[in-house]
Symmetry: C2
Subunit: 494 residues, 2 copies
Amino acid sequence: MNRPVDRWDLPLGLDAGSEPLFRRISRSIVEEIRRGRLRPGARLPGSRTLANTLRVHRNTVLAAYEELAGEGWTESTPARGTFVSGALPEVRRRAAPAGPSRPAPEAVGFDLRSAAARDACGSGSVAPLLSLGVPDVRLAPVMPLARAFRRVLRDRPEDLLSYGHPQGHPRLRAALAGMLRTARGLAVETDDVLVTSGSQMALELAARTLLKAGDVVAIEHIGYRHAWQVFEQHGATLAPIPVDAAGLDTGALEALTERTALRAVYVTPHHQYPTTATLSAARRIALLELARRKRFAVIEDDYDHEFHYEGRPVLPMASTDRAGIVLYIGSLAKVLAPGVRLGYVTAPRPVLRQMVAHRACIERQGEHTIECAVAELFEQGELQRHARRARRVYHARRDFLVRALRRELGSALSFEPPCGGLTLWATVGDGLDVEAWASRLREQGATLFTARHYAYDGRVRPHFRLGFAPFDERELGTWVRLLKRTLRGASPGG
Amino acid sequence: MNRPVDRWDLPLGLDAGSEPLFRRISRSIVEEIRRGRLRPGARLPGSRTLANTLRVHRNTVLAAYEELAGEGWTESTPARGTFVSGALPEVRRRAAPAGPSRPAPEAVGFDLRSAAARDACGSGSVAPLLSLGVPDVRLAPVMPLARAFRRVLRDRPEDLLSYGHPQGHPRLRAALAGMLRTARGLAVETDDVLVTSGSQMALELAARTLLKAGDVVAIEHIGYRHAWQVFEQHGATLAPIPVDAAGLDTGALEALTERTALRAVYVTPHHQYPTTATLSAARRIALLELARRKRFAVIEDDYDHEFHYEGRPVLPMASTDRAGIVLYIGSLAKVLAPGVRLGYVTAPRPVLRQMVAHRACIERQGEHTIECAVAELFEQGELQRHARRARRVYHARRDFLVRALRRELGSALSFEPPCGGLTLWATVGDGLDVEAWASRLREQGATLFTARHYAYDGRVRPHFRLGFAPFDERELGTWVRLLKRTLRGASPGG
């Protein structure tokens, strides 16, 4: 969209030269038109404005504009102003500088390493619509957030708008510490909490603090690729450990530690990503004991803690960490909205101090206006009310999806209804080709991520992930019918 | 401040055991009190609520509460609820678990590398009040920002609250591209712009994209330490190049390139940080030609472009980059507010693509709600109006400070009135001890950063930096008088 150019001053690079000043100005404007900086239809500044900007006499600018109009570069309308012409004349080489008007877009004048799957962390080309563990942003407390934002800006603008601490605004840290004490069994103070721009940044800071090249990090063999990329970026070697219905196989982990020194293990023990399994109580105790004995760190990523539907609440491993080995990462993405980038970490104090220092190097601080607005939502109880409402909605949607899948897909799918979280992990029946099924779905415009997308070894396994939270029952019904229709393409001979 | 605990569910870790359930609950609550998770005065959940959370009968909870009250752990008021007692009884060891109730705060159960000046990027212990190059946040368009935030949330919530692109919201990128074309001579499109969480992140992404261990980066010998730390963090060796009244000494830079292969140079050519010198036209041409010939990158940090008071506008080096060697970094921190973390980069497309990919690894994306709100401020012309107003105010404050310094401090200081930016670089007269002067100021509660703080070699030089933008004339007068009073401590025998 062409905005009037005169909202901004239009400084021109005036070459030194022997030609009259008005001509140097008009040539400069022609150069900008050729380079694409001034577009057809763009309005040039008024002559007084440009004269002021360039520190020249207004008549000089008028003379330049006259020459431009005479050559067809611009068109003037008395009431409206001077515009770059829609139909541009051929380039006059009289005073145009040699060389291209802008570098070839892909040209780089120095050596650049090849990207090599560099965008594995990126958003990828297609969003896996059916497999996203995202909340329903239609439920998000949008207007309370907007009102809170306005209030904090009105009441404390200087505090929020000046440079702040990289650890995060103390008001949000206090609110988070209170929530972590009360709801998650973590004995933490305000200063034990680091607010990050999303949990991804928390992983980045953990990696910077813990890892050097060659360190070994144990991971769930089917798990969260965005985390793996961060660890590998910092030179770590990843050791995949099998995950089953009780979560990470701590026996296999122990066997690994007998032959390899481990630096850290990365786990999602509450609702394993993506299988939704909860790490059993026995394995939690075993994992903490093993980590204490072998002196490796436990990176506990509790990304969707708020949404637990069945069974007694399960407290994080961090709540029983007496040895100071757990880095506990959480996120407000699922409980508030993914677009609001707020995550948090708590860890032993020397570890947290280093993470804070690293954060300051990457990004001096977070967005304190947003942090304070969200702190208000905590203090008012608004966030908690929203979490309870959302949990009821997601619980109902989970139940609806479970019934619909059983009814419509019968033996084609088997699954454990997830005891929490925003997604379901389904296993396809024998004889069904899960990749072919996903392919048929893609042809219908619906992207599903199969187990292959989450597996460290990239191998095909007969599972896929379904996200149910962002869809109401009507939409869930549509997806289930689509799954059923495309099922035929997944069977041999179908 | 004690918030009622019952705003959050209170999940308790109930140990398996042979004792009656009500006693296991009361012991569990005692444990939480001892660990500090439940504070004196904290209100326990109502019995129905806790029974619901724990999936037990309400009577069981009532029995647990009775035992707690009987032992003195809690106090009940019929109308108000049950609270953790202010005076806690001695610990009963009957069923308390062995070991400390929380790990010693400083205990870390794995090896942690020493921090080694790790917080050099951090905010440091004391803000250099007199030397900050910050805008006056009292002038910031706070209410327009709040209104824009509300509008974008109201109109496009799903777009903004869902996961977005790591390159930044297209609306803000389009607005920035328009500004860069019009006001800075850069022929860029929407997709040529990467929005970052402040310019610090842009430096981090540039370092990740360009640097490997051992690469040499030329820097201004007095300059921006936060950038140096980022380069060193990525394994670069820094080569300081002298800066004089015409900016970076490109002759010295060329001499360096004769004996060392350079990977990049980091410059602040518009208003050199912190000396405020503008890189001369001749040196700009020389620098670009040298970089093209020797194939090294130019990282141009144009952190306060909007505030230029004298002389013709100077376009960035990026505007004449035909070889594809300039990474151009800007920031909205000075024109909007430092607390709003928005910076931007434009670079040759293959370079930008890698920077975007790295950004996604660190932080999946920026804060799109804020990005869109700021885009609105661009589109409405509000940001431009604010920039013009602020420039007039800062220009007047600069003039006031210049007059006041000349009048009050006479020959004790010499300086060039800065042609732009938010700070002034002063040289102290012969025989004056600049460090002693700063020391006297610190005793008066005012922190001034001398040249030593900005010098790569850390050596004492007879200069200091004064920030004038955030102070009105009354406040500037106060600072100048303070400088005069403490001057006596800076002279020999004073």
